[in-house]
Amino acid sequence: MLLREVEYARPATVEEAIALLSEHEGARALAGGQTLVNVMKARAASPDVLVDLADLDELRQISFSADQSVLEIGAMVTSTELAASSEVEVARPILAEVVSTIADLQVRNRGTVGGNLCVNDPTNHLPPLFVALGATMTIRSTAGERTVAAEDFLLGVYTTAVEEGELLTKVSVPTRKPGTGDAMEGITLGAHGTYVVNAAATVGPDGVRVAIGCVAATPVRATAMEQALAGGDVSEQAVRTAAAGLGASLEPPSDVHASADYRRHLAEVSAVRAVLKAAERAKG
């Protein structure tokens, strides 16, 4: 419950932040701290240096790309800000809907989009959602910027494509085209609790995308199910048929909350429900 001694810096610009992260081995970016501070309290990790991103206004913006096709969300945007954003409401309301179920208001007031993504705990809300939405992540370093697709960004448990000395600056989410619906379904430990299994889905003119969370180190695309639904029939019959075998294709963990078999089953059910709900919304 008490941190080890740590060094702390609070840069004024993104460039200063990146310089600090590059110069100091074992430096970690401190965003909302809802995960990192608690990890440090448990002494499960004790970075030598914390680089506080609080003053980096550049990372707090929500805006559209020039052609309005992409919504750009700064890494330091909090869940509360995302949920209240009129841009999000217009462009991709599923984001607001999902972050509104993260933990509780206190956590949402501090917790950031970048933090939830970069922690990449298998039970986190945003990784599977961003995979389903086809989001991309922009990473900046002293060498410049690069953009990575969500599935290439999320590499393993607590591990992403952000390397030492780099910083995630924004997440870009395609705005919703007409005839597109999004949904996220799953089972949690209590209302707004930690996910046991989840599935995020989007249904639209470009087809169906489904990402399953909590079943592997990183979100798993249900590619067989997506291909089976490529023809455009998203009736309940078709979706259930397409999902058959999804559970069996997974190797989820067993823990005190669910056995591997139960997770396989819930994954299949969640995928079906997410796709059906997304399809329903696509019509409206």
């Binding site: 941190l3 707004h192 930690t194």
Partner: protein, 818 residues
């Protein structure tokens, strides 16, 4: 005003008693001005952090504290070796061989559960103590682990305490009536192979803690703590520390929840005392949440094996026999009392007369068990409710009708159970009817159809439970005839101060039950003044001379023992005030009444002395009286009327009162996932006369929330190596605001004929929630293969398994009919 008949006479519920008077405690608590133990500071205090065992079972080799001591700001350490020299092992309640267990404040030679304190480190700041703890090196030699109490008696099971010869702490056969005859007479015998009550506790939001100061000159410790049973703590600590109990001053003020889980912190308190003396500075200790989960007060986990129930064709239950295995964890602190406490409610709420329970308690490499809200009665009442529902389902009886038929009936009250306990009063059938009315029972089938149309399985369940209160500690002799404990007591003082203020002290240690408020209500009505004129000191202080051996707040007894003591002291004071007034007015004390804050002559209200006048006379103006005036400072010890139970027959009054709760719930199961939601909930309670109805209702609500948590989410689950898989609030999910169902409550009052105020202790009736949720799940799944619910804890994955393989659960049950 209403009159209540009790054995003590007719009590008038007065201007304050019976009203939901606003709580005196609230003003300071809503402003954050409560004083909880971690709020207390002393100059120069050292912060204590425990080095705890990472193994569930291991020998301790060497311990090296030198690196820790070298860190600047570290004040000192304490190890088990020192403890073994400075103290004697804690007194054991168990008879041999269990009684040979050696339990010290720190691990000596061995660790027996993960999280057991091994070394204590004290430093200038919390952070330093934490850092220094990481520099303590302990050599462990891991040993084989036993985590299943059913295996702890096997020949090859690892033995935790060699001195005890094996892992058994207690075993005994409890039998009354003629069980064989009952089974011979039965038309049906229902057999249930295994029932399991899971391990969890109430996780009070504030963890254990203490601030201990040592006075070198007098050899006296002041222990500011949140232990909720100071009487027990002192009795355990004094002999171990080889000091008289007057050297241990225990002080509490505000306590952030107890629920029984703050009874067995005495080992840690001893560690703090030894360090306060060794280091000559105050010692501050606050338990971390993870430490609490790993090491403190898990509730008794209990299996019931080979249960048989004898039933007549008309649904009359004749009796049961079963074998209970109880898991005590690694040390016996309050155990094996759990082995007798259940007998307070041996037949549950039912009239069967032929009962047999073989009770065996085993030790395992898990956190030590100690009382948890509903302590040991909850496990047994769950057992009786489960078997009623299983019998009803298997034999085709209606769960409501079979209960009403077999409940102890109101006209039988007071009712002597087969083992000599006396249920004082109550109307169980009427209470059940109230639950059914609140929940809309007549519409259940309609709701079931409606739910089915939405693809959900709806179930309704009843959970009836007794909240036995005011222990007769003589029941401990049924476990160990050598013990010298019996009866019970609580103390209160009431005095009139020089300026007319009424000052009350209690021996209790409230953790949210509103003792300052309810005690002031009782005292105000007796003295004829307002509750605002009565000042009840917050908390407990053993130097107030207001406590005795059993003082504390536990086991549903305050409304009887604490308020009985307050009433006794107030009655004494009232008599003295009348006597003093009569001396002043030169009349008979019978001519004096106490009303509206005055002592006045009846029929002549002008001749009145305000309380201030009486207080001033006694304290500062007492010349001129031909005889000594009364002191207006009264102390009363309430002693409930008990005998020592019959040890041969295991027979006698084990508790004084029996409050009752009946819970009903409606839930809907999603058959595709096993996820379920409680959609309606009702709880009816009867705790006799309610001094403050709002406080009583608050207790019912809180207990309900605990039950819902235990039924759906809360479990202390261990892996094979003895690692606790739910060591904090992240994995051990407790209910949050959005998790609560709609709740309807109602109350009836069946006064107890045995208590001074007609009250019954209450607060632990929440087991009713666990019972009714189990019943509702089983009811819902009748449409899906009729599985048997045999576990108290039913998270979604367990419900899903019942849906997938109902036949597996049905292998647990067998019906033989003649």
């Amino acid at each position: 005003m209403t009159a209540v008949e009790t054995e003590a006479g007719t009590l008038q519920k007065g201007a304050a008693m019976g009203q939901s008077v606003p709580r005196k405690e609230d003003n300071r608590l809503v402003q954050g001005q409560g004083v909880f133990v971690d709020d207390v500071k002393r100059h120069g205090m050292g912060y204590l952090h425990f080095v705890r065992s990472p193994y569930a079972h291991a020998k301790i080799g060497s311990i090296d504290v030198s690196s820790a001591l070298e860190l600047p700001g570290v004040y000192g350490t304490l190890t088990g070796d020192e403890v073994a020299i400075l103290t004697d092992p804690f007194f054991q309640i168990a008879a041999p061989p269990g009684g040979h267990v050696k339990d010290y404040a720190l691990a000596v030679g061995k660790v027996r559960y993960l999280g057991e304190p091994v070394v204590a480190v004290v430093a200038e700041t919390r952070e330093l103590a934490r850092d220094a703890a990481e520099l303590v090196w302990v050599d462990y030699e891991p040993l084989a682990v036993v985590v299943d109490a059913r295996r702890a008696g096997d020949d090859d099971a690892p033995v935790l305490h060699e001195e005890a010869g094996g892992n058994m702490s207690y075993t005994g056969v409890w039998e009354w009536g003629d069980v064989d005859a009952a089974f011979a007479e039965a038309d049906h015998v229902v057999t249930i192979k295994e029932l399991h009550f899971d391990r969890f506790n109430s996780t009070p939001l504030e963890t254990d803690g203490a601030l201990v100061e040592y006075n070198r000159g007098t050899g006296q410790w002041t222990i500011t703590t949140n232990n909720q049973f100071p009487g027990f703590a002192a009795i355990m600590m004094g002999p171990a520390m080889r000091v008289g109990l007057d050297k241990l001053r225990i002080v509490t003020q505000d306590i952030g929840g107890g629920f029984g889980n703050k009874i067995t912190s005495h080992p840690q308190l001893v560690t703090c005392c030894l360090l306060a003396r060794k280091l000559n500075r105050p010692i501050q200790w606050t338990e971390w949440r993870t430490e609490f989960h790993q090491s403190m007060s898990h509730g008794n986990e209990r299996w019931f094996h080979d249960t048989e129930v004898a039933v007549k064709a008309d649904g009359t239950l004749l009796g049961f026999r079963s074998k209970a295995i109880d898991d005590a964890g690694a040390y016996l602190r309050y155990e094996p009392l759990g082995g007798v406490i259940w007998a307070q409610v041996a037949p549950g709420m039912y009239g069967w007369r032929n009962l047999r329970l073989e009770f065996t308690q085993m030790m395992t490499n898990k956190a030590p068990v100690s009382p948890n809200r509903g302590y040991s009665r909850m496990q047994h009442l769950w057992f009786t409710e489960r078997i009623i529902d299983i019998v009803a389902q298997e034999l085709g009886f209606d769960p409501v009708e079979i209960r009403k038929k077999n409940y102890v009936q109101p006209e039988q009250m007071p009712y002597e159970t087969p083992n000599g306990c006396v249920y004082d009063s109550g109307d169980y059938p009427r209470s059940l009817d109230l639950v059914l009315e609140l929940i809309g029972y007549d519409r259940i089938e309609e709701r079931r159809h409606d739910a089915a149309a939405r693809g959900k399985l709806l179930g309704f369940g009843i959970g009836s439970t007794l909240d036995s209160g005011t222990n007769n500690f003589g029941q401990s002799q049924l476990l160990n005839p050598e013990l010298q404990f019996s009866g019970n007591n609580e103390v209160a003082t009431v005095k009139l101060d020089i300026f007319g203020e009424v000052v009350v002290t209690l021996g209790t240690t409230p953790q949210g039950q509103g003792h300052e408020t309810t005690a002031s209500q009782v005292v105000a009505d007796i003295l004829g003044c307002s509750v605002d004129q009565v000042h009840v000191r917050a908390g407990h202080d053993s130097y107030w001379n207001s406590n005795a051996g059993f003082s504390g707040t536990y086991a549903s007894q305050f409304a009887v023992t604490g308020l009985g003591a307050a009433k006794g002291a107030a009655d004494l004071l009232a008599a003295e005030m009348k006597l003093l007034a009569s001396m002043v007015f030169q009349c008979s004390p019978d001519d004096i009444e106490l009303a509206e804050g005055f002592a006045r002559i009846k029929g002549n209200p002008e001749a009145a002395l305000p309380f201030m006048a009486l207080g001033a006379i006694v304290n500062a103006n007492n010349a001129g009286f031909p005889v000594d005036p009364p002191t207006l400072n009264c102390r009363y010890v309430y002693r409930p009327p008990f005998d020592v139970p019959d040890k041969e027959r295991k027979f006698g009054k084990l508790t004084l009162t029996y409050a009752m709760q009946i819970h009903g719930c409606v839930l809907e199961i999603d058959p595709e996932t096993g996820v379920y939601e409680i959609v309606d909930y009702a709880a009816v309670d009867d705790c006799g006369v309610r001094i403050n109805p709002q406080i009583v209702e608050g207790q019912v609500m809180g207990a309900t929330a605990h039950a819902i948590g235990a039924a759906i989410w809360e479990t202390f689950s261990y892996d094979e190596e003895g690692n606790l898989l739910t060591p904090n609030f992240y994995d051990y999910h407790v209910p949050h605001a959005l998790d609560m169902p709609p709740l309807k409550t109602a109350a009836i009052e069946s006064p107890s004929p045995f208590t001074p105020l007609g009250t019954k202790g209450m607060g632990e009736g929440g087991g009713g929630g666990i019972h009714c949720i189990c019943a509702a799940i089983q009811d819902a799944l009748r449409a899906a293969g009729k599985p048997i619910v045999s576990d108290s804890h039913n998270p979604y994955h367990r419900v899903w398994e019942l849906l997938q393989h109902p036949e597996r659960s049905r292998e647990n049950v067998e019906v033989r009919s003649t």
